[in-house]
């Protein structure tokens, strides 16, 4: 796999994460309009961190697959 394709897959993952964040992080504020700001922010942070961890996990898997084919 060429590096350019690897970068393109990373781009797709970034866009997928932004869709996830728009749907779930933005929605928290809409579903809890009268809740304390700190609670809403904590929930948003938890969802965002979960999304980043997921991204890092998939990126790690992609990296392993790429390295297996490239570095022997």
């Amino acid at each position: 796999m060429r590096l350019e394709l690897f970068i393109a897959i990373m781009w797709a993952l970034v866009l997928a994460i932004t869709v996830f964040l728009v749907i779930f992080v933005a929605a928290i504020d809409l579903f809890l309009p009268s809740s304390p700001g700190l609670l809403v922010s904590a929930l948003q942070a938890a969802v965002a961190i979960a999304a980043v961890v997921l991204l890092a996990y998939y990126l790690g898997g992609l990296k392993k697959a790429y390295l297996k084919s490239k570095l022997r």
Partner: protein
């Protein structure tokens, strides 16, 4: 701001930053050589000595331009961006003068986020391409995380002659367009000095380098890039433009599994052949890096590796422009 004001202010700050760097750099090179502030360029025959750092001249060019812009616009965001950049420059300058432990830079760079947060430059809506999220409280820790990461990402791509400066120049193109579309003209004007100062610096940093940026140069470039992305509300687009450098950092960190100064890692990711071409290391303990992946298909000379990284930066800049188009459709057109 009227169009003619944007044009005049833009031309002024661009010219100031470009010519300050372009005209002062030869004197800086002579001064550093005279004071023995040189390092070995190990990828060249004879390992010539190259002066370092270029950070002070870059900082001078950017600072003068930003101060002129502040005088013209009185926008505190311009001062915040300048202050963040200056803090990053000082952190890098300390590291240039005396190699500090691995955690020094990321921890010290937290201070560079303070001006942005203190003046509320980040706002409370995070643009996420397909929509935006209202995160008034969460945005603050995000800024403190993003600024050190941005600084260290550019710092870590400074691997070969001309790579870091050329990378920043290419990444700035979609960033400028995005800020003009989604941010404000003041922030777009504040971004021009980074682009033009780096463009002027590239003349001296390109292969074969006559001066290296040092940590003071790369950290100020990276932090300013991050500060502009935050002030302009275009963080995701900025990340896309930096993807090859992000990949490089991710590869290094995931293989070393700790935050550590590059100099402290004994095993090198690439080896230098007798003909000065770069080849991937066969040491299983060697960290993975972008350069190691590039030369995995066969040894390459330094200039060719630089060209490959440039190609990757162009690809990610094109993806950033595509992201701009998508965000424009979802946030502006609909």
């Amino acid at each position: 701001m009227a169009a003619h004001e944007v044009a005049i202010y833009g031309a002024a700050v661009s010219a100031i930053s470009f010519f300050v760097v372009y005209l002062l750099m030869p004197a800086a090179i002579r001064s550093l050589v005279a004071r023995g502030r040189v390092v070995k360029d190990v990828h060249k025959p004879g390992t010539p000595s190259v002066p370092r750092p270029a950070g002070p001249v870059l900082m001078a060019g950017i600072a003068v331009a930003e101060l002129v812009l502040y005088a013209l616009t009185l926008n505190p965001a311009v001062l915040a961006i300048l202050a963040s950049t200056a803090i990053a420059f000082f952190v890098g300058y300390v590291d240039d003068a005396r190699a500090m432990p691995g955690l020094f830079k990321p921890v010290a760079l937290l201070a560079a986020a303070v001006p942005i947060v203190a003046l509320g430059i980040q706002g409370d809506h995070l643009n996420l391409v397909f929509g935006s999220a209202f995160i008034p409280l969460l945005y603050v820790p995000l800024v403190f995380a993003a600024i050190p990461v941005a600084g260290n990402t550019i710092n870590s791509i400074d691997v070969l002659n001309g790579v870091a400066s050329r990378f920043v120049i290419v990444a700035m193109l979609p960033l400028l367009a995005a800020i003009a579309l989604f941010g404000s003209m003041d922030i777009m004007l504040a971004a021009l000095p980074l682009f033009f100062a780096t463009l002027a610096f590239y003349k001296y940093h390109r292969y074969p380098s006559r001066i290296f940026p040092g940590d003071s140069g790369t950290l100020l470039m990276g932090v300013m890039y991050g500060a502009l992305a935050i002030a302009g509300g275009v963080e995701v687009i900025a990340i896309v433009a930096l993807l090859p450098a992000v990949l490089n950092s991710f590869l290094f960190l995931s293989s070393v599994r700790r935050i550590v100064e590059h100099r402290q890692v004994k095993a090198r990711p690439v080896t230098l052949l007798d003909d000065f071409r770069l080849a991937p290391s066969t040491d299983p303990a060697a960290p993975i890096s972008l350069v190691r992946l590039i030369v995995a298909d066969g040894p390459l000379g330094e200039k060719e590796v630089g060209r490959r990284i440039f190609r990757l930066s162009v690809v990610s800049a094109l993806m950033a422009f595509a992201t701009i188009a998508i965000q424009y459709y979802f946030l502006v057109a609909t």
